[in-house]
Amino acid sequence: MNIPKKLLYTKEHEWIKVNGDKGHVGITDYAQHHLGDIVFVELPELDEEVAAGESMGVVESVKAVATLFSPVSGQVMEVNEELEEAPELLNEDPYGNWIAIIELSDQGDLEGLMSADEYKSYCETLE
């Protein structure tokens, strides 16, 4: 399973790539693998205020609907509209296809997230 080193992770299997006060957010390889073929992505709204650990959308696969949680609090700066047309991109390249870019309102939120190593150990406990 692919877990890139430089990203931070949530227990709900989202990743965030932080650059200053901007964070690209997506779902992990583990998430896409377990969900199976993804058929629909409900993106957050542009400019929407999201809160760390709160729902910001849903992903529907052939197996289930899963809630998407924001890893951090902040404002949605950009959403990846390509996923509305081609939700399967999340299966093909989960780290190359971000879902939203969030402007962080509190860098402290990052302390609650897992490193790649921690996330790897966490995933092992789920198997």
Binding site: H34, G36, F40, E60, S61, A64, V65, T67
Partner: protein
């Protein structure tokens, strides 16, 4: 496993109860409910309501429409359809449909009916579907639910659901028609849905040892009622939550032809163009502008048309006629 006792036949309440058990239940046991709805259409989380249902039929017959948390297609419920919902910890059971459909198959075996899983989500008798299943996951918990057609009005089902009838392009999930059957048609000795419900409850309890049944407290019932009022009984959730869609409506009337193009998002008109052979392109611009942001429901559109004065633009049509054309 514990059965949360529920006798409500109100679709809004029952869907709210599912969410309550999923997100707020704090008891130590995994739960299940068995429930029936008065006539209702229950659509998938990411479906476009307008695309899936025969709204005039729903209005006429008083059929309720509710959006559920799980995905997949639209289903018809009535008192002849038994629903089962289990809420468990996610860890090992995610996407494990067989574990949850097995009690249904075993319950049927006890009344002499042979059923089998078909694909991932369906249970069939002689190749015909009587049960559709779906899952929803949220914060480490998993909800599995399914319909069980016992003695449902299949004719009403066909009338209430009409996938693919409208000319709509949307990114939402489309329903797929299946050949369906009622369990009752396969019984050698007739039993009532209530009796089958008890047999199924006994099988579900066998999934895990547990204390039997649980009666919700007044405070818990109030929490479910609040969720019913604030979410499941609202237009915003049942219709407004539909994925964005584009729509074209045309009509040939005595005075000429009219062609309307719409984009609808969050249940509101986002853009609108009206063409016709009676008027020039552009003449309708103020009317088109006025419709932007209006709730995509004929009553709201009618109010908007009355306010702007439809007669100045289209004297041949009255407000209700055009509102129904736009939204119908």
């Amino acid at each position: 496993m514990i059965e949360v006792v529920n006798h409500s036949r109100d679709p809004y309440f029952n869907l709210a109860l599912e969410e309550y058990l999923m997100t707020s239940w704090t008891g130590p046991n995994h739960t299940f409910i068995l429930w029936q709805n008065k006539p209702a259409v229950i659509i998938g989380r990411n479906q476009n309501t307008i695309e899936e249902v025969n709204q005039p039929y729903l209005d006429q017959e008083g059929v309720v429409l509710v959006r559920r948390m799980s995905g997949g297609g639209a289903v018809y419920h009535d008192l002849g359809n038994l629903n089962y919902t289990l809420v468990v910890d996610e860890n090992l059971d995610f996407a494990n449909y067989d574990k949850f459909t097995r009690p249904v198959i075993k319950a049927l075996d006890r009344i002499g009916v042979r059923a089998e899983n078909s694909g991932r989500n369906d249970i069939t008798i002689e190749g015909r579907k009587f049960s559709g299943n779906a899952q929803f996951k949220y914060r480490g918990r998993l909800l599995h639910h399914g319909t069980i057609l016992f003695d449902s009005n299949l004719e009403a089902m066909t009338l209430a659901l009409n996938p693919g009838v409208h000319k709509i392009s949307s990114k939402g999930i489309k329903s797929v028609r299946s050949r369906v059957t009622n369990i009752r048609d396969h019984l050698s000795q007739d039993i009532k849905v209530e009796e089958f419900k008890e047999i199924l409850a006994a099988e579900l309890l066998q999934l895990e040892p547990g204390p039997g049944t649980y009666q919700l407290s007044q405070a818990e019932l109030q929490a479910v009622e609040a969720l019913r009022e604030n979410k499941y009984a609202t237009w915003a959730w049942n219709y407004g939550q539909s994925p964005a869609f584009n729509r074209r409506k045309t009509a040939s009337l005595a005075w000429g032809h009219i062609d309307i193009r719409l984009e609808v998002k969050h249940g509101r008109i986002r853009s609108c163009r009206i063409f016709g052979d009676y008027f020039q392109a552009g003449e309708m611009e103020d009317l088109e502008q006025a419709l932007i942001g209006v709730v995509y429901r004929w009553q709201d559109i009618k109010v908007c048309l009355e306010k702007i004065g439809l007669y100045d633009y289209l004297p041949q049509m009255d407000e209700e006629e055009l509102a129904r054309l736009i939204s119908g």
